[in-house]
Amino acid sequence: MTATPVAPTVEGAPPRERGWRRILRAIGVQNLSLVAAIAVLVLVIGSQNSAFYLTSNLKTIGMAVTISGLLAVVQTVVIIMGGIDLSVGSVAGLASVASAMLFTSFGSGVSLIGALAIGAVCGVISGSVVVFGRVTPMIATLAGLIGYKGIAQLVSDGRAQGYTGADPLYVFLARGSVLGIPTLIWILALVAAALHVMLRYTRMGRNIYAVGGNDTAARLSGIDINRYILGVFALAGTVAALAGVLITARTGSGQPVSGSEGLEFQSITAAALGGVALRGGKGSIGGTILAVILLGILLNGMSLLGVNPFWQNIAQGTLLVSAVIIQQLRNGERRVGLPK
């Protein structure tokens, strides 16, 4: 059809943006400032200790951020959908124990698949509580944080389980490398790339942004939002379980709590630092990955420079809050009352 409105287009449409502004916008000011922060940090740390630039140290950083990075990227997806998953750390712990115990009885293949399946089930349970029990994601997964940790402690009697240190698959996961790059880094890169493509280029990803941006609009536009909520929580559980399997691989045994405790908050920290809006609908995997790298370099640099490790948490907290303050003020948030 051709609408022939009475009115010709009225003047007043804002002019198109100039070239360089469009490029800047495509990268995102948020991401640029993260890149700048990383660059500054690298220069400062490198000038103090040249060992920082060693390839071996870069690998160390990469491997150190893999586990928290996995949780951060999947947390990004959950938050973009308008949810939050506080249970990812506990699911990782449960999966770690489960993988070690399954390994002892059935071998590495079954243990890997079994652990991932358990993670998926945990996610579906959280998602079901949210969708069918009408519980907010915060509370539902807070219950998961406590409950799944309890299950991990119960089945393991609170102790580390099994020994996977001699199994080729687990050794490959923990210390192997492909094309000179450690397996751990590959895993994070592949998962992050897959989630990035999913969010950016698929119908599923678009709908996740829509559900997070306005769930009523999404529902009235024919999106089956329950399916998306269940699916995304299942995804979060599965990726968290993958992180748990890597904990087992790294430590050589199943860890119910140590190695996974507190990871949920690290994942939220990275997502928020990466520019993911906690109210949903906004954010990207790229931003989160930059934030993960920034945090990894910060912690690595502090230990290289011999800073008292207790300062690490203080530095992370300060970094997070300053980044978000800058972000909010740039958005022109009015300084009144509780921020949205």
Binding site: V6, R203, G213, A218
Partner: protein, 510 residues
């Protein structure tokens, strides 16, 4: 009871300018709001009315210019400064605290409290009842209701009362009637007349021409951030004002060729939901049916039920002659039913996403292959509708939240045009939309009907109902009270059906 003070402070603003990141929203605007007069502020969306009101309310600081109230120069750093200077701007979309009562919402920030700061629920409800009564809204709102239960009209009333209890000298209304029914509008206009007679300066922003002629003394028109001029209502015409607003002539907004309707597309037989009872109506292909009635008559709820978002308790909904039951909007959309809901921002648009994403939202499946969205086709689709519907946006990649109301509404329409829905339900499609965009939306509706789409329009604006509809179905209190062919529909007859006290079934069925 408070004593009513005799107020006599005028507001004068001179040379007000405001830029937003390089875009000039206001350019040296002079505005007078004299005491004891109602001054209407008119202009298309984007003309600068909202910016001006935000400067008056202290939400924005002007880049240049001076404001005087009662001869004294004032400068507002915060909304609180504006309040203390005796100026209140009544928001169009008021903030209502959801889980406290109407009374507490009214006295928000200044709860009357007794000894030890104790707030007596009963006392403030009683006071709220008196204040509501005093302003003429006593019968429209129960002070004990919770904020979350209120309709948009009732929220607006809370906001009005909330602002007036301060006894401001200068009061600005920002499209107060966009969510009000005609009866509520009458009450409001009586109140505005009283405020004027008390000597207060009243500013009144609206897109509804007939209201301006009813209530205003002076009309001041803005266009593109500049003052175009002021006219006494007694020496101007609707045509002149529209011309000033748009800088061109709008011959007739409702220029429709009415055609013979086709086969029935949507038939409701005795449909009962939690909110409506025994509703029967039919919309044919190529026909525009208006659903008229007061706010709260159950029209929005009926629309949601047809669109599969509310359960149908009994009765039959037939689509293309086949009885259907929808468990979700998804199923209704698959059957060809599209709903553009009343609350555009809250229920229709993903504000933080782009125009392109919002247009493509309901057709991503057909734009995708193996689950991957084809960016090219998506962009082409968005560009096509941006051009076709004259959506004013720098590009398809613009965030929807940066568009004006009329353009946002066009994005919602584009979403359903892209979907090629056979049955389109539009709930208040021109609410908060400027004159130019309104005419364009009417044009689109007419185009759709001529292509055989069955259109059901819910509207509280009677001229719109009369101008658009082939048939008018009137609802009151969850029931259909009558149906009028466009040849027999008049404002009086529709109103009679909408507000008649006796719920008779004979009505004026044709």
């Amino acid at each position: 009871m408070r004593t009513v003070t005799q107020a006599s402070a005028s507001l004068t603003a001179r040379g007000i300018s405001k830029n937003f990141s390089g875009v000039r929203a206001l350019d040296g605007v002079d505005i007078d709001l004299p005491a004891g007069r109602v001054t209407a502020l008119m202009g298309e969306n984007g003309a600068g009315k909202s910016t001006l009101l935000k400067i008056l309310s202290g939400d924005h600081l002007p880049d240049a210019g001076e404001i005087e109230i009662g001869g004294e120069t004032v400068s507002f750093q915060t909304p609180f400064d504006a309040r203390s200077a005796g100026l209140r701007v009544i928001a169009q979309e008021p903030e209502i605290v959801p889980h406290v009562s109407v009374a507490e919402n009214i006295y928000l920030g200044a709860l009357p409290s007794g000894r030890l700061g104790r707030v007596s629920q009963r006392a403030i409800e009683e006071q709220a009842r008196q204040d509501l009564e005093r302003f003429g809204f006593g019968h429209l709102l129960d002070p004990a209701r919770l904020g979350v239960e209120l309709s948009p009209a009732q929220r607006q009333i809370v906001e009005i009362v909330r602002c007036l209890i301060d006894e401001p000298q200068v009061i600005c209304f920002d499209e107060p009637t966009s969510s009000l029914s005609d009866h509520e509008t009458d009450v409001l206009f009586e109140l505005i007349a009283r405020l004027r007679d008390e000597g207060r300066a009243v500013g009144y922003v609206s897109h509804r021409m007939h209201e301006i002629f009813r209530i205003a003394d002076t009309v001041t028109v803005l266009r593109d951030g500049r003052l175009i001029g002021s006219r006494e209502v007694t020496d101007t015409t609707e045509g002149e004002i529209v011309k000033m607003m748009v800088g061109r002539d709008l011959t007739s907004m409702y220029d429709r060729d009415r055609r013979e309707p086709g086969a029935p597309a949507l038939e409701l037989e005795d449909v009962t939901t939690d909110d409506v009872t025994g509703v029967s109506l039919t919309v044919h292909h190529g026909e525009v049916v208006a659903l008229a009635g007061l706010v709260g008559a159950g029209r929005t709820e009926l629309a949601l039920a047809i669109a599969g978002d509310r359960p149908v308790r009994s009765g039959v909904i037939k689509v293309e002659g086949t009885p259907r039951q929808f468990g979700s909007p998804r199923e209704a959309i698959a059957a060809g039913i599209a709903l553009a809901p009343e609350e555009r921002k809250a229920d229709a648009l993903v504000m933080v996403r782009t125009v392109r994403d919002n247009i493509a939202l309901a057709v991503l499946g057909s734009l995708s292959r193996f689950g991957f969205v084809k960016a090219r086709r998506e962009k082409d689709l968005a560009d096509r509708y941006i051009e076709q519907l004259h959506i004013r946006t720098p590009s398809a990649a613009q965030l929807v939240q940066n568009l004006s109301g009329g353009n946002q509404q066009k994005v919602v329409l584009a979403r359903w045009l892209a979907r090629d829905a056979g049955i389109l339900i539009l709930d208040e499609p021109t609410r908060g939309v400027d004159v130019g965009a309104k005419a364009e939306i009417y044009q689109i509706i007419d185009e759709l009907a001529s292509r055989g789409v069955a259109v059901l329009v819910i509207s509280s604006e009677l001229p719109e109902v009369l101008g658009l509809a082939d048939r008018v179905v009137v609802m009151q209190n969850g029931r259909v009270t009558g149906e009028l062919h466009h040849t027999e529909a008049t404002e009086e007859r529709i109103l009679t059906l909408a507000i008649a006290d006796h719920l008779s079934d004979e009505g004026a069925t044709s």
